[in-house]
């Protein structure tokens, strides 16, 4: 089974981050939340493997709150 990859994998991290923030530009909090939800669903479909997705969810949950 493929597991959560915690090593860097993004080709251009700064471009990705800017695109993510730009996508939320001018949205209300509710609209942003809806966009995030759609984004997560699209990304999940891209990954496809539910066991891997569960592992990623666990990894995200394990992040201690700031």
């Amino acid at each position: 089974m493929t597991t959560f990859n915690s090593a860097p994998n993004l080709t251009r991290p700064d471009d990705f981050y800017a695109a993510l923030i730009d996508a939320h530009e001018g949205l209300t909090d509710d609209e942003s939340a809806a966009l995030n939800a759609r984004l997560i669903l699209c990304l999940a479909n891209q990954i496809g493997d539910v066991d891997l997705l569960k592992d990623i969810i666990l990894a995200a949950k394990a992040q201690p709150a700031a």
């Binding site: 809806a34 939800a37 759609r38 997560i40 669903l41 699209c42 479909n45």
Partner: protein, 537 residues
């Protein structure tokens, strides 16, 4: 016109059992003449086991109630001699539409697989279903089969005496005592039998109310299942429109939790809701209205000594997915051959414990599926609603999101994986769908269908190989069937049972589930698998 659910079909009549000096002893008593109880009684009587059905009512169920009967139920009904009349009367549908707010987000076609005798589903009012089953009981009675229904007979006490069960039954002529070797409690979600015995029934209550209405109308709506999330005529809630026979439409409207049930049920409150949904100009007549809440729960065990629970009395699910009556029929399919084998002495009492193992597995699968549907339809938190709406928004434009939309996962039969009755899966390269524990897939056979030739007894099925026509092993008679390519007109038996294997031998249980499979016939291996399938080892 008097409707069939207003006519007493099994009116109270005083029985000789009520005036005897000692309680009469019956082989099996079934409590409850709903779909599950009637199926149990027919199955027993067809196999020559004496059965008495007690029901405190005298009529079939009022209102449509269960309306969606799945393929497996129809196959079981075929074995019980009722399948044809159900399918003749029922409405078949394949198309579904899903709406979100004021727009259609997608439609789907169930696209049932070809080469099965029965359709994926029919819609049929529960009262028609029960009516056909009662007619079958009457036909069996006329043939002299040992079956009887007593209406107006309410069970008020049950005691398991170890070697039999003692009952007190209340009637219009007063109470009487009666006994049975075995008792099957099919008396519904509020099962008085369960309460009399003080047995548990735990699970999750969903804080919601649904208005269900049967509406008679001549309308141009097509024969499709329409489901709305957050429609303009029922803001923030859901709605379902489904066609039944006789120009009756079933409408389910979610109402939320904090409502006045009595007030919402009144026609002056129901009619404006329906007009908002159907259109001001549509003429309709309200036949039946009910408000329900639901729970997903089950008993810890379905077998309690000589008392066996089946259907809603043992387990309850949300209505999404049509998993109530359909799973109850699967309970009976599973239970009756085991009970018969124990009564006949061809299998040990332990076989009945596997009813618990297999049907609790089924109930848990149904509870899981119907709870997930409910959580999608009625999000329980702000974030859950956010994701639900995101799925629906995406579904309109992107096919990938459509399988996530969950307005009910329609009932399919349970595969008893890891059942203690399963024998070897020794047929290499054969399809997973026919592995031990699976319900046998149907396929064209000769000029008819395979499932009509299976079930009732143990069957040894040889495909592209000869098996004995009859076998007696451990006192059990097995019927042999050898199917060659000439009997398999579309090659679908080979496709569904052999896959890439050259030949196969299957041991099929009386409930048409696969017990074991091998490439060739071997009597010793067959005997071992049969012993396992009867809980002898």
């Amino acid at each position: 016109m008097t409707k069939i659910f207003e006519t007493p079909l099994y009116p109270y009549a005083k029985s000789a059992d009520q005036s005897g000096d000692t309680p009469a002893r019956h082989k099996v008593i079934v409590v409850g003449a709903g779909p599950v109880g009637l199926a149990a009684a027919i199955d027993l009587a067809q196999q020559g086991i004496e059965v008495l059905v007690l029901d405190d009512n005298t009529k079939v169920s009022f209102g449509s109630r269960a309306i969606c009967f799945a393929k497996r139920t129809l196959e079981i009904a075929d074995r019980l001699g009722v399948g044809e009349s159900l399918v003749d009367k029922g409405v078949q549908w394949n198309l579904g539409k899903v709406f979100f707010g004021d727009r259609k987000v997608y439609d789907f076609n169930l696209l049932p697989e070809a080469g099965h005798k029965r359709p994926a589903f029919i819609n049929l009012q529960q009262y028609h279903f029960e009516h056909d089953f009662v007619k079958r009981v009457r036909a069996l009675e006329a043939e002299g089969a040992p079956i009887e229904i007593r209406g107006g007979n309410k069970v008020t006490a049950i005691a398991d005496k170890g070697d039999h069960v003692a009952l007190t039954v209340q009637t219009p002529d007063g109470p009487y005592q009666i006994e049975a070797d075995w008792l099957i409690a099919c008396d519904g979600a509020n099962s008085p039998s369960r309460q009399i015995l003080g047995l548990d029934f735990v699970g999750r209550v969903f804080e919601d109310n649904f208005l269900i209405a049967d509406v008679v109308m001549e309308a141009d709506f097509p024969t499709e299942r329409w489901f709305w999330f957050d429609p303009p005529f029922n803001k923030g809630q859901s709605a379902l429109l489904h066609k039944q026979p006789d120009g009756v439409w079933r409408i389910d409207l979610q109402l939320g939790w904090d409502i006045d049930k009595e007030k919402e049920k009144k026609p002056e409150n129901v009619i404006p809701r329906l007009k908002a949904m159907l259109g001001e100009d549509v003429k309709f007549e309200l036949e039946w209205v009910s408000i329900y809440t639901f729970q997903c729960r089950r008993m810890e065990k379905f077998r309690h000594g000589r008392v066996l629970f089946a259907g809603d009395s043992a387990h309850q699910v949300s209505p999404f997915g049509a998993r109530g009556a359909n799973s109850g029929l699967q309970d009976i399919d599973n239970l009756i051959w085991k009970l018969k084998a124990v009564i006949d002495g061809t299998a040990p009492d332990a076989l009945l414990d596997t009813y618990d193992v297999e049907r609790i597995h089924g109930a848990d699968e149904n509870i899981l599926n119907s709870s997930r549907s409910t959580d999608f339809i009625t999000p329980k938190s702000k974030v859950s609603r956010l994701f639900r709406n995101a799925v629906l928004d995406l579904a309109e434009h992107h096919a990938f999101a459509r399988p996530i939309v969950n307005s009910g996962r329609l009932s399919v039969p349970c595969t008893y994986d890891s059942s203690p009755l399963n024998g070897p899966d020794a047929l290499v390269d054969a399809p997973l769908r026919a592995r031990p524990g699976s319900p046998c897939p149907d396929a064209p056979y000769g000029t008819g269908f395979l499932l009509d030739h299976l079930g009732g007894d143990f069957v040894v099925l040889g495909i592209n190989t000869q098996v004995p026509e009859m076998l007696v092993l451990d006192g059990i008679t097995l019927r042999g069937m050898s199917i060659m390519a000439a009997d398999d007109p579309d090659g679908l038996i080979a496709n569904r049972y052999l896959g890439d294997a050259q030949s196969g031998v299957y041991l099929i249980r009386p409930d048409q589930h696969v017990a074991a499979r091998w490439p060739t016939f071997d009597e010793t291996a067959m005997q071992q698998a049969l012993r396992k399938a009867c809980a002898k080892d």
